[in-house]
């Protein structure tokens, strides 16, 4: 499995390390022509406004929209903001995941925190840094984790959006979840390809 990590700004190496540990081939992605060879893509955490400017300057937005309609994408924190169909008080960017997201919704850095969240009956540590949350989800979007009444992890088909940073802890459950989605999506694409033939 070949997974790209968008490497414009942010916690890129942490994602590359986590993915490699689980046996995936993980590569940093800076240009659109690298997308073709990938089975899945990670939009890492960082500053969403900075990453957005860099994506615009590199004319990556349309390519990422096309990619995310077809193949699995995992957005953490800033990545979730970029992926969301709607962002409160801001323009959406890639906009393919059917969720509404609010930026910095837990407050400033001084309010950043670590806590345990439960994902599919499993308790995992979750690091929230000036984190967004998912205010609401569209039809057929699965809510996978919450903190209080706020949604912090959701899945829209082959798109996974996470408000916290699994790449900052040792627990690899969320990455396993994503790689499972990549595997499923690849075999589904292969099957439909064979049907056409």
């Amino acid at each position: 499995m070949k997974i790209g990590v968008v490497a414009l700004q942010g916690a890129v190496t942490e994602h590359l390390t986590a993915l490699s540990e689980l046996g995936a081939e993980a590569i940093p992605v800076k240009e659109a022509n690298q997308l073709r060879e990938l089975d899945g893509l990670v939009l890492p955490g960082g500053e969403s406004t900075a990453i957005r400017r860099l994506m615009d300057a590199a004319q990556l937005r349309e390519h990422l929209q096309l990619f995310s309609r077809e193949k699995p994408v995992f957005g953490t924190c800033a990545g979730l903001i970029l992926l969301a169909k709607e962002v409160i008080a801001e323009e959406a960017h890639i906009g393919t995941m059917n969720v509404v997201v609010e930026r910095n919704s837990f407050g400033r850095q001084i309010d950043s925190f670590i806590t345990d969240v439960t994902v599919q009956e499993r308790k995992i540590p979750a690091v929230f840094i000036r984190a967004p949350h998912i205010q609401s989800v569209g039809n057929n979007v699965e809510v996978l984790a919450t903190v209080g009444d706020r949604i912090v992890l959701a899945r829209d088909g082959h798109l996974l959006g996470c408000a916290f940073h699994p790449e900052l802890t040792e627990d690899r459950y969320i990455f396993e979840l994503f790689l499972e989605m990549v595997k499923k999506s690849a075999s589904a694409r292969l099957a439909s390809h064979e049907n056409v033939l």
Binding site: E47, A50, Q109
Partner: protein
């Protein structure tokens, strides 16, 4: 249970800044220009370092009004500087909710013997360093991010290069040192033993390390990335140039694509005049900000 102010959360915030440019600003208007150009954070100041140099006298924490104005103007993180060892300036900035405090040699030190015990604060700190001993001492006190000092306000990259090369060479040395020689190295460079042990175990510094102090052009920023910086601070380099907007954008691009030389060539074309630089060899020792702190 929800825990704030813990190490993972403080260091993690700096990890989210990696590959980015943190820009010095003195008002809301500059902060907005920085944000629009793609800065990952802004440092709210009363004067940029080159003006602090010119003004002379004692440089203190900025007027809280300026910090507040900048915090209200942008959605990216806002950092602010406190004097070395000035517990109250740091607590004031913490109470205002700034996202990161720079315990900075750019300001006149309040304490010539003791730095802040940064582990006792909820807000994370960034500190300057010239070598691994200094870096490890700041980590020992609880700094969640480092920046090599360079020589602030000079627009001269030479000290930034010297300090980054020095830190990285010593990290390399620690990683490759037999374990039974580590304590002697700790003694020789004045570093806490456990910090060196941790570096040896993980193979790199346990916190993010940016470059600072002298970056004036896109090529300067790219050079620091090439030498292994995790990102860059640009102080006077942007708003003391002839075209801040263009400089800011170009430096952001050059930091991300630091090995794309054709692109950096294009970014550097007709950029206007960078800030006026200072020769450090002709600078009196007492004017060198990097000598502040230990």
């Amino acid at each position: 249970m929800i825990q704030t102010g813990v190490e993972t959360v403080k260091r993690g915030m700096a990890q989210m800044q990696k590959g980015g440019v943190i820009m010095d600003v003195i008002n809301a208007e500059q902060a907005k220009i920085a944000e629009a150009a793609g800065a990952t954070a802004v440092m709210a100041l009363e004067r940029v370092p080159s003006d602090i140099r010119k003004a002379g006298g004692v440089a203190r924490m900025a007027d809280p009004r300026i910090v507040e104005e900048v915090m209200n103007a942008v959605s990216i993180p806002v950092m602010a500087k406190a004097r070395i060892g000035h517990v109250v300036e740091a607590r004031i900035l913490e109470s205002m909710g700034v996202d990161y405090i720079d315990e900075s040699e750019v300001l006149t030190p309040a304490d010539e013997e003791y730095h802040l015990l940064k582990s006792t604060y909820n807000v994370p700190f960034v500190c300057g360093c010239r070598d691994l001993g200094e870096a490890a001492r700041r980590i020992g006190e609880g700094a969640a991010m480092l920046r090599t000092k360079g020589e602030p306000g000079t627009g001269n990259i030479v000290e930034a290069v010297r300090h980054l090369r020095q830190v990285n060479a010593q990290v390399h040395q620690v990683v490759n040192l037999p374990k039974d020689e580590l304590m002697t190295m700790a003694k020789n460079i004045g570093a806490p033993f456990d910090v060196l042990l941790q570096i040896q175990e993980v193979g790199h510094l346990p916190v993010v390390n940016f470059a600072a102090g002298g970056i004036a052009t896109p090529a300067d920023a790219a050079l620091m990335m090439e030498l292994g910086a995790d990102g860059v601070f640009v102080g006077s380099g942007i708003f003391k140039s002839s075209n801040p907007e263009k400089f800011a954008k170009a430096i952001v691009q050059a930091t991300t694509y630091y090995q794309d030389y054709e692109l950096i060539a294009n970014l550097s074309k007709e950029l206007g005049t960078p800030m006026k630089g200072l020769d450090i060899t002709s600078m009196p020792f007492e004017e060198r900000m990097q000598e502040r702190g230990w």
